[in-house]
């Protein structure tokens, strides 16, 4: 059981991260929140401060995480403010316009930079710190989309797939250092990121639910979790459809 009292949130203003932050605060944690949009970040931090008890530290800073040069300094700042790092949640990301990416490689590159490379830069720095301190948990929001490439969003899928495989290796390495690496694979979540999609039905989950699953997975030091759990079954089926059949399907 990991005690997660001091947590850094990257992409803190995303709907899933914000719900996670509220639940962590309710459990007494101190948080350092990093987000790109200054208005949203201020609103988030003000809200969390009101919810938090007097001894909890709630702080954060504005940063564009595609600027990987800043990562080391940001982590320093967070660690200093929190007085240590017990847990990290990397939650930033964008949902690419697949058609636009098909037409323009520069967009594809941009999406891979945001959704994969910036995450890998953070992971590289955090892994070294936590490995040294010999405890902690790193959770990253990947996606079920990273389990198999599909025509409808394979740019996003490829980026998330890269993150998932990177995390597998990292987990293997850090297991020896008592550091847990958790890959979170949410299914369909009702958030502003998915505003353009048609929603409704049993496959769509609320961000509060996903946040609960993330915290439990971090506390229990899980490896890969599908949220809600039934996506494990759905993806099992999707992963094992033979490629010769899969290529003719429109998923």
């Amino acid at each position: 059981m990991n005690s997660i009292k001091r947590v850094i949130l990257f992409g803190a203003t995303s709907a899933i991260a914000e719900q996670t932050a509220r639940q962590l605060v309710a459990q007494g944690a101190s948080l350092y929140c990093i987000g790109r949009n200054p208005d949203k970040l201020t609103a988030l931090i003000d809200d969390l401060k009101i919810r938090a008890g007097d001894t909890q530290c709630i702080d954060g800073s504005v940063a564009d995480l595609t600027d990987t040069q800043q990562h080391d300094r940001l982590i320093d700042l967070a660690e200093h403010r929190l007085g240590g790092i017990d847990g990290v949640l990397i939650a930033h990301g964008t949902l690419p316009d697949q058609r636009a990416c098909q037409a323009d490689f520069s967009l594809t590159r941009q999406e891979i930079e945001t959704n994969a490379l910036s995450v890998i830069s953070l992971l590289t720095l955090l892994a070294n710190r936590l490995e040294q301190q010999q405890y902690g948990v790193i959770a990253v929001i990947s996606s079920v989309a990273g389990d198999r490439g599909r025509q409808s969003n394979y740019v996003y899928g490829a980026a998330k797939g890269m993150v998932s495989i990177f995390l597998q290796g990292l987990r293997n390495r850090l297991a020896k250092a008592n550091v847990n690496v958790v890959t979170i694979k949410p299914g369909f979540v009702d958030t502003p990121m998915t505003a353009e999609l048609k929603k409704g039905g049993p496959l769509w989950a609320k961000p509060e639910k996903i946040a609960q699953g993330i915290i439990t997975a971090m506390q229990n030091g899980k490896s890969e979790v599908y949220l809600p759990w039934f996506w494990w079954g759905i993806m099992l089926v999707i992963k094992y459809i033979p490629e010769t059949i899969f290529k003719r399907m429109s998923l």
Binding site: A15, N37, D46, I50, K199
Partner: protein, 433 residues
């Protein structure tokens, strides 16, 4: 998610588009179809929160606290915060909402737009009386900060303004101090309306909270029998009881209403016969203020056709005669309501131009939608209300005729000047056409 509807699931109308707000400083894109209308947590009844054209702007994503002064009890929050979320934050710190309706699942924006009231209206007025400031976004891009002391009309138009003056983005509330989360409640049975009036007069003078439940199926000598609940926030106690919140849910919508002649009669009789506690007892604030919130989706018991609420206010002079006439009509037509709620409003004038609370007696009922039969009942009830110079509550209405609205809300024409030209609702189109 699924199409937003109001709590009584009537009328079933769909806007051209929906737009989810998650950031209070973000403006609403120009390319969304107009008119706009804010929709919070869908706890009003009828069509004040619905539109058939344009865009329904969903505000539940505006759910952040902005500032809290735990010494003075001043809370500023975004308009999509629910009353339940406020209570969860402030009750452990010794504060309470000075005015709360019968559900804590309404949003702050909705509570302002309908200028909701509670069991303590006679002591503290309505929700608008406790708002220190609010921010209004107008569709031309202007942002107004409105306070009750301003005399430019914007505050008076927006409180009780049914969401038509623009989008309320945040509000600042004055809370009231409490000692603990418990209430001291005395309940008393009364055998008819006359007994209610005399009990109620005494209770009102001595208690901050009063409300009565009436068995609206009882006729003759027993007409208007019921139970009066008087309450106040509990004083400091050396030991408090345990309270564990339990909630049940209605899992699905049955094809027909489970509320019918048999279940109504049985329920009303049982309710009337419940043991009362004239000597008083401690009750936790949750079951005291929000008994129905414990049953999630309770609106489903009325089946697919939904139900109507009917809430009127009758001026003091006519109150006794008109209340008797209303109950008689309901009993005569064999329609009945699960729980009929009777309460007297105090004399504190409401701040809103279209506020419902005003001196007099208010009776609230709900009826399963039985089509023409139910509409016919309403026409008879309307006649009594109109004759007595009363009014119906827009926040609980899906059918009142335009003439009844206009006679009950004489300031509606002054109010028109404050309507945002980019906003409208199905209710407004219905009562002003």
């Amino acid at each position: 998610m699924s199409t937003p509807h109001s709590w009584n699931r009537l009328p079933r109308v769909t806007a051209d588009a929906t737009h989810t707000l998650t950031q209070r400083t973000a403006s609403i894109p120009d390319d969304l179809p107009r008119p706009l209308l804010a929709h919070g947590n869908g706890r009003s009844y009828g069509d004040v929160c619905l539109t058939e054209q344009g865009t329904l702007v969903l505000t539940r994503g505006l759910d952040r606290f902005i500032g809290f002064d735990p010494l003075r009890g001043v809370l500023r929050c975004e308009a999509g915060v629910t009353l339940a979320e406020i209570l969860a934050l402030v009750v452990p710190r010794g504060w309470f909402l000075p005015c709360t309706p019968g559900t804590r699942l309404a949003t702050v924006g909705g509570a302002i737009a309908n200028d909701v009231h509670g069991k303590n209206h006679h002591a503290v007025g309505s929700f608008g009386h406790h708002i220190r400031a609010l921010e209004l976004w107008r569709s031309d891009g202007t942002i107004l900060e409105c306070r009750p002391e301003d005399n430019n009309g914007w505050f008076a138009a927006t409180v009780g303004g049914l969401g038509l003056t623009g989008l309320i983005r945040w509000a600042e509330l004055q809370l009231m101090p409490i000692q603990n989360p418990w209430m001291w409640v005395e309940s008393q049975r009364f055998t008819n309306l006359d007994e209610f009036w005399s009990l109620n007069r005494y209770a009102e003078a001595h208690w901050p909270y009063t409300v009565a439940w009436i068995d609206c199926l009882a006729q003759g000598k027993a007409q208007g029998r019921g139970i009066l609940l008087a309450g106040q926030h509990a004083a400091a106690q050396t030991e408090l009881p345990q309270f564990k919140e339990r909630s049940k849910r209605i899992p699905a919508t049955p094809p027909f209403s489970l509320v019918n002649g048999f279940s109504l009669r049985a329920f009303n009789t049982l309710y009337y016969r419940q043991p009362v506690k004239p000597q008083g007892a401690l009750t936790h604030y949750v079951p005291y203020f929000y008994p129905l919130d414990a049953i999630q989706h309770w609106n489903r018991i009325y089946g697919r056709r939904g139900f109507y609420q009917y809430q009127c206010v009758i001026p003091p002079r006519e109150a006794e005669a008109a209340t008797a006439a209303l109950l008689e009509t309901i009993a005569r037509l064999g329609e009945g309501s699960f729980l009929a709620v009777l309460k007297t409003f105090g004399r504190k004038p409401s701040l809103g131009m279209l506020s419902f609370p005003r001196p007099g007696t208010t009776l609230a009922l709900d009826f399963p939608n039985r089509g023409d039969k139910t509409r016919h009942l309403f026409e008879e009830l309307d006649a009594i209300v109109r004759e007595a110079g009363g009014a119906l509550y827009p926040g609980k209405d899906a059918r009142m005729p335009a003439s009844l609205f206009q006679s009950g809300y004489p300031q509606w024409e002054t109010f028109k000047k404050f309507i945002d030209p980019g906003f409208s609702s199905r209710f407004w189109q219905r009562v002003t056409s």
